[in-house]
Amino acid sequence: MSVDQKTVKRVARLARLKVKDEDVPRLAGELSAILGFIEQLNEVDVANVEPMTSVVTMKMKMRNDVVTDGHYPQKIVANAPAQDDDFFMVPRVIE
């Protein structure tokens, strides 16, 4: 599987990573090499095999739907690059 430069740009956009134009050919090569390595999985017969959803056999734990924690907005926003009055600040998104 070979990844072209257009695909690198599309995937980078999906991943919200700004990629410099000069880095695109290098990334296309690296991603192609990794995907080439992964290709060998096509040799495996996976017909009638269930995909793994949990490595340990256990029942999903249930808990009561009640508030057990919280009421400290200052702690929540403490690490934000920009905050105001217990809110996260972001650039304007609605004109």
């Binding site: 991603l31 992964i38 995909p51 304007r92």
Partner: protein
């Protein structure tokens, strides 16, 4: 007085109880040793004030006769564990300035038992790497060097700082994490003992997430007993992590020294890979002989899907990483680089904040999860994962534990491996264990022709950690311990 930093946890524990020295003296000895060993770059942050404060509190508890299992024992903490009010960045630029408002469950368990925090340890960025060369804070230097050579070597990764600090005696033991081999490979490269317990044995709460279905915490320690003492404290059932399993934590230390007579040890033929160095093969045979000499039964087994574990891992791990790392967007924590609009701000922050290897894995993960590819890649990889686990399930009918080499080579030099896929091959023997959720331990078993440590790996049944400690102690008893000559 003996050099306090040369004491194992079990020896220091006895010395503290007998009042041969105080917890503060022990901590001060480590703080002095850390200062001298800064050239190794194992610590990215030293916390001497906090360490002394915790040591004094330990001394007070020791005086009152209320000591915990790790009372006064100085530890290093991998930067992946959230430590309240203390630098926690997974050694990434994207988490610039992040100080958690909470403590990870694993580290909280250690403090509950009286341990002392010396500082935060270097690692590959977001635990993605096998050489500790992807850290934003620079490479860690392995305390070991080749015979008659001054060249620096990598300590392995991603828990490179943890392994180097334990090997250099600048902490009594360290916390680490393992997603594809990140505890066992660096332990093997530094002559230390590292165990990745069964998935669900340690809580993942407060550990910066990489690949949630594979990540598991464990200790790196100087010997098997110390690893057992550490894991006993680290492991717990935690309501904050629904994947933590409701099983009592056994007294792992009690397993050490139990005779291994009759233990069935599997040797998987698929691990004899093409191009495996003769010394690794010889070490593996020697390990089997040691166990046999102590009464174990050696059984040849087959794990037919072994070769597909690594390619499947490089779908599952990047896919989960791309989801987990979506949260670093410059809004709630860490680095923010302004842009023309909010999307531009996200893209700039992430491009500036993530290193090359992390960006590569995010792109691979995003690609394999993108529309039209999900079934071909992710679902297929999860099916292969089922087959890998089935291989082990069948093996457990015949054997109690599996013996393999820990790594395909001893430590290499920084810059020696630049091809990403070549680097990934470092985890060829360890990654199956994560894919199947099993416990695995790396134990030092010899030195290479160049005088570098080599390790063997034991793989156990789910929650078979006691058997691993028992068998690893038998290898340790035959192989002896390995200490890096101090050059720093």
């Amino acid at each position: 007085m003996t050099n306090l930093t040369s004491l194992t946890i079990s020896a220091a524990r006895d010395g503290l109880k007998k009042k041969q020295f105080t917890a503060l003296e022990l901590t001060d000895a480590y703080l002095a040793a850390m200062e001298k060993a800064r050239v190794l770059n194992a610590y990215i942050l030293e916390t001497p004030e906090k360490a002394r404060e915790m040591a004094k509190a330990s001394d007070a508890r020791l005086a009152a006769g209320q000591c915990g299992a790790l009372e006064g024992i100085p530890l290093g903490i991998k930067d992946l564990f959230a430590t309240e009010g203390v630098h926690t960045q997974a050694c990434s630029h994207v988490l610039d300035g992040f100080k958690p408002q909470y403590e990870s469950t694993v580290s909280a368990n250690l403090w509950r038992d009286g341990a002392v925090m010396l500082g935060k340890l270097n690692m590959d960025e977001f635990a993605m790497g096998s050489s500790n060369e992807t850290s934003y804070y620079g490479n860690v230097i392995n305390p070991w060097k080749r015979t008659n050579s001054n060249a620096a070597l990598v300590p392995g990764g991603s828990s490179g700082g943890s392994a180097a600090a334990v090997a250099a005696h600048i902490c009594a033991a360290a916390t680490a994490t393992d997603t594809g081999g990140s505890i066992r490979q660096p332990a093997a490269f530094t002559g230390t003992v590292g165990i990745k317990p069964t998935y669900g044995r340690c809580s993942r709460w407060g550990i910066v997430a990489f690949a949630s279905s594979l990540d598991q915490a464990g200790p790196i320690a100087r010997d098997v007993r110390d690893a057992a003492i550490m894991l006993k404290s680290m492991a717990s059932v935690d309501p904050k992590d629904t994947t933590s399993v409701d099983l009592p934590v056994p007294d792992y230390e009690a397993a050490i020294g139990r005779p291994i007579k009759g233990l069935r040890v599997g040797i998987p033929k698929e691990y004899r890979v093409d191009g495996m160095p003769a010394e690794i093969d010889a070490l593996w045979s020697k390990g089997a002989e040691w166990l046999k000499a102590q009464g174990a039964e050696i059984v040849e087994i087959s794990l037919p899907h072994t070769k597909y574990a690594l390619p499947a891992y490089y779908i599952v791990a990047p896919a989960e990483a791309s989801s987990n790392l979506a949260r670093y967007d410059g809004v709630r924590y860490g680095l923010r680089v302004p842009g023309d609009d909010i999307v531009d701000m996200y893209e700039n922050s992430r491009a500036a904040g993530f290193g090359r290897e992390v960006q590569r894995r995010i792109l691979i993960g995003t690609y394999v999860l993108s529309a039209g590819y999900y079934d071909a890649y992710y679902v297929r990889a999860q099916k292969v994962r089922t087959l890998i686990k089935n291989d082990f399930d069948k093996a457990w009918d015949k054997v109690d534990v599996v013996l393999t080499p820990a790594t395909p080579s001893p430590a290499f030099a920084p810059g020696e491996i630049t091809d990403p896929v070549q680097m990934y091959l470092n985890d060829i023997f360890t990654v199956t264990v994560n894919m199947a959720g099993l416990p695995g331990i790396a134990v030092p078993a010899g030195l290479s022709a160049d005088g570098l440590p080599l390790g063997l790996q034991l793989i156990g049944k789910p929650f078979g950690e006691e058997t691993l400690f028992q068998a690893a102690a038998a290898i340790e008893a035959a192989a002896g311990g390995y200490t890096a000559p101090q050059w720093w």
